[in-house]
Structures are given as C-alpha cells and as structure tokens.
C-alpha cells in the first residue's frame, strides 16, 4: 500500500491504495468521482480519458502511483460555474445519445482544441475525426460529436 497524493479538479486528494491501483479506479472508487467511466478497460475506447498535467491520458492505462503530485482534471472539473463550451456544444448539437462515452469525448475534445490552438493549427473536420481515433461511440455515428467539437473550437 502507498499513500498517493495529487490535485484533482483543483482540490488536494490523498488515499492509501494498493500499488497496482489504476488511476481510473483511484478516481472512481477512492475519490467517488464516477463521471470518468470504464468502458473497454483495454486502452481502446477512451471513455476513461482525463487530463494529467494538462494532457489527455487513458486513466485505465496509468497507475495512480504514477500520477503522484500531478494536476488531474476529470469531467467533474471542467465546468466553472456554468457549463464548459465543450459541454454546451455537445448539448447544442445533440452530440450524445446514451452518454456513456461522453465524458471521454469531452475530455479528448478539450485536449485537441487546446493543442491545436497552442500550435496555431486549424482543427478542421478531418483533423477532429483523426484526433478522435482513441474514442469510441456506439450510438451516434460521430457526426454530431464532430459538429460539437467544431463548435466548441470556435468558442474556446
């Protein structure tokens, strides 16, 4: 067992966990932040995506201990009094149906917009589709997810 401490959504968090604990289990089971989902548990589907030190990672494929001291943002941490532009865009564009993949889609969406803006690159439709390679949705067929991210990109 190891005491693992990090900052999650701006708040200090600490828990005594087994060394093998995955970051997603630390977030869900120990911090009870259940917005981050476990879909495939094999690094494919992306519904577990959170930001670690500002970068999108699959929290099912990272040990909690490896995030010691990190700044972690989960879906619960993106709204700031009002919905984040990415959340609002998914609402406006009907970018979800069952909603299971949505937390990961939103975290990946925010990450891609931030990266493209920082690099001064245009996030067009083809780029959004390529960037979504690690996020699987079984309901929507992706069209409205792509529209949502494009809208948010113009507002962020």
């Amino acid at each position: 067992m190891t005491i693992v401490s990090m900052t999650v959504n701006g708040t200090a968090a600490s828990a005594d966990v087994e060394d093998r604990t995955l970051l997603v289990d630390y977030i869900r089971e120990h911090l009870r932040l259940t917005g981050t989902h476990v879909g495939c548990d094999t690094s494919q589907c992306g519904t577990c995506v959170v930001h670690v030190d500002g970068k999108a990672v699959k929290s099912c494929t990272m040990l909690a201990a490896a995030a010691e001291g990190a700044e972690v943002t989960t879906i619960e941490g993106v709204a700031n009094g009002e919905l984040h532009p990415m959340q609002r865009a998914f609402n406006d564009n009907h970018g979800l149906q069952c909603g299971f993949c949505t937390p990961g889609m939103i975290m990946s969406g925010i990450d891609m917009v931030n990266r493209y803006k920082a690099a001064g690159r245009e996030l067009d439709e083809a780029a959004i589709r390529h960037e979504l390679e690690g996020n699987i949705c079984r309901c929507t067929g992706y069209h409205n997810i792509v529209k949502s991210i494009a809208q948010a990109a113009s507002e962020m």
């Binding site: 094999t42 690094s43 670690v52 490896a66």
Partner: protein, 265 residues
C-alpha cells in the same frame, strides 16, 4: 492485475539500482503496452520501476544533423518537436500516427523499441535511420538490436537511455493500419542517407522488423517508386494470420514502400 510494488526513479542509475533489488521487476515507461499486458496477466512482474519521470532519460537534442532522443520521450513530444522536424520530419510524422492522442501522451520511444512488438512503428524507423540504441552499459546498432518477435539484444534488466541517429537527406514512413486495431499491418520507413538508401519494414515480417535488401539495392540505383517495379519480398517469410496471409502482406510491403519513396522524393 496481480499485486506489485511500485518504485519511482528520478534518474537512470537510480532506476537500475532499484530494479536490481527486486525479485522479478520490470521497468515501466509509458505503460501503454505493459499495463494492458499486466491486466490480462500475460505479464506479472513483482515490481515496477517507473522511469517515465527520470530527467536524464527525457528530451530531444538536435546538433547539426545528429539527433538524440531520450528513451522516456513520449510519441507526442517526438511528433511536436520543431527542431527535430527541421532535420527529420519523417520521424515526427511517424510518431504522430502511433496509437491515438492519449496513448501518444504516455507511450515512449524507449518502451516501444524495448518491447519490439512486430507491429510497432518505431522498429522500422530505427532500422531505416541506422539508429544506435544506447543503454546504461553499451551502444547497440539497430541492425543487431531487433532479434525477433518481442525479442531484442537487451540483457535482462538493461535499461535503454537514448536513441541516436543521423538525420537522412530524405525519408518517409507509409503505414497500412489494421482497420480495427490501427496497428501496422505493414509499415515501411525509407531513408536516403549519406551511405545509401535504407528500408525498414514493420508489421509484416514473420521474425519482426526487417530490411529488404533487394529494395535497398534498387533504390540505391534510382530513388523512385518505379525502381521497385517487379521486386517483392518472399510471402513465406511474412506473417500470416487472420488479418492477412503472407501473400497479402508481401504485396503490402511493395505498396507501402512505393508510397514511402514517393512521399520522400
């Protein structure tokens, strides 16, 4: 995943020391292959020594055409490095298409090379770029390093510290990803360097990444896709599985090699 003891190393020598004190420990870099393997219990190390935060294993240095990439440098860092892109855009483009964005934020060049997955992208680049794999104790030429499927010249517990190569005058990587897994069914890296053309193939060979000598000789004569007309690898030396048989993969090697040469020239 079985129980394990986690250790974090702040530098390469500390990592080697920590691992030497374990029963059956493994180095953990980005963990994008090792952690999934541990979940399915294909791997069950007693200890993990995390080298992802080791300062002396990180970063990219470019001096003239000489490139050194720290072993714990992520695919995203390789893809986005402007100085590296200035001398060797082909390796940046290749890294930008490994896995997906979240995987690229964690996965490392050293981890990929050490694992030597037969469908990983980096081994093809290492062969074509005539890279040198530097470890805590020695330097190993890429031609000697990749021994077979998931097998390398590394000793047990030998840690890769960096990858070095001379940027080629021209180069490109062409990949045909499996439509489901996105791993390379075949990936071909072509590099035109000072000592001639080198070609690295991943995803297709039955013994892992390899260099097709006939392709290199033809491209040394004339660096154009047309120079590869009528030349192919042997189907019986290719992987043959549910995703594609040896004949299919042999054809992919020719097609991807032509695409890579066309992109590089």
């Amino acid at each position: 995943m079985h129980s394990l003891n986690y250790h974090k190393a702040s530098n390469a020598s500390e990592a080697a020391r920590l691992l030497s004190g374990t029963e059956d420990g493994k180095f953990l870099a980005g963990g994008q292959t090792l952690i999934p393997a541990m979940k399915t219990r294909l791997a069950a190390p007693s200890d993990l020594v995390d080298v992802s935060g080791a300062a002396d294993l990180r970063g990219i240095k470019v001096s003239g055409r000489e490139v050194t990439i720290g072993a714990a440098t992520t695919h995203a860092e390789v893809a986005a490095n402007g100085e590296l892109r200035g001398v060797c855009p082909s390796i940046c483009d290749m890294a930008a298409n490994i896995g997906d964005p979240a995987v690229r934020h964690r996965g490392t060049i050293g981890g990929s090379v050490a694992n030597n997955d037969p469908a990983a992208d980096y081994p093809a680049a290492m062969l074509a770029l005539k890279a040198t794999i530097k470890t805590v104790s020695r330097e190993i030429a890429a031609d000697e390093f990749f021994v077979g499927l998931f097998e390398t010249a590394l000793d047990d517990d030998e840690l890769i510290t960096s990858i070095g190569f001379t940027a080629p005058a021209a180069g490109a990587y062409a990949k045909f990803p499996n439509p489901a897994s996105r791993y390379a069914m075949c990936g071909v890296f072509v590099a035109k360097g000072d000592d001639g053309v080198r070609v690295g193939v991943t995803g297709a060979g039955a013994d892992g990444a390899f260099r097709p000598a006939d392709f290199e000789a033809a491209l040394d004569g004339e660096f154009s896709a047309k120079a590869l007309d009528g030349i192919s690898v042997k189907a019986e030396e290719m992987l043959s599985d549910i995703h594609g048989d040896g004949v299919y993969r042999a054809n992919l090697v020719s097609v991807m090699a032509r695409r890579a040469v066309a992109a590089a020239s």
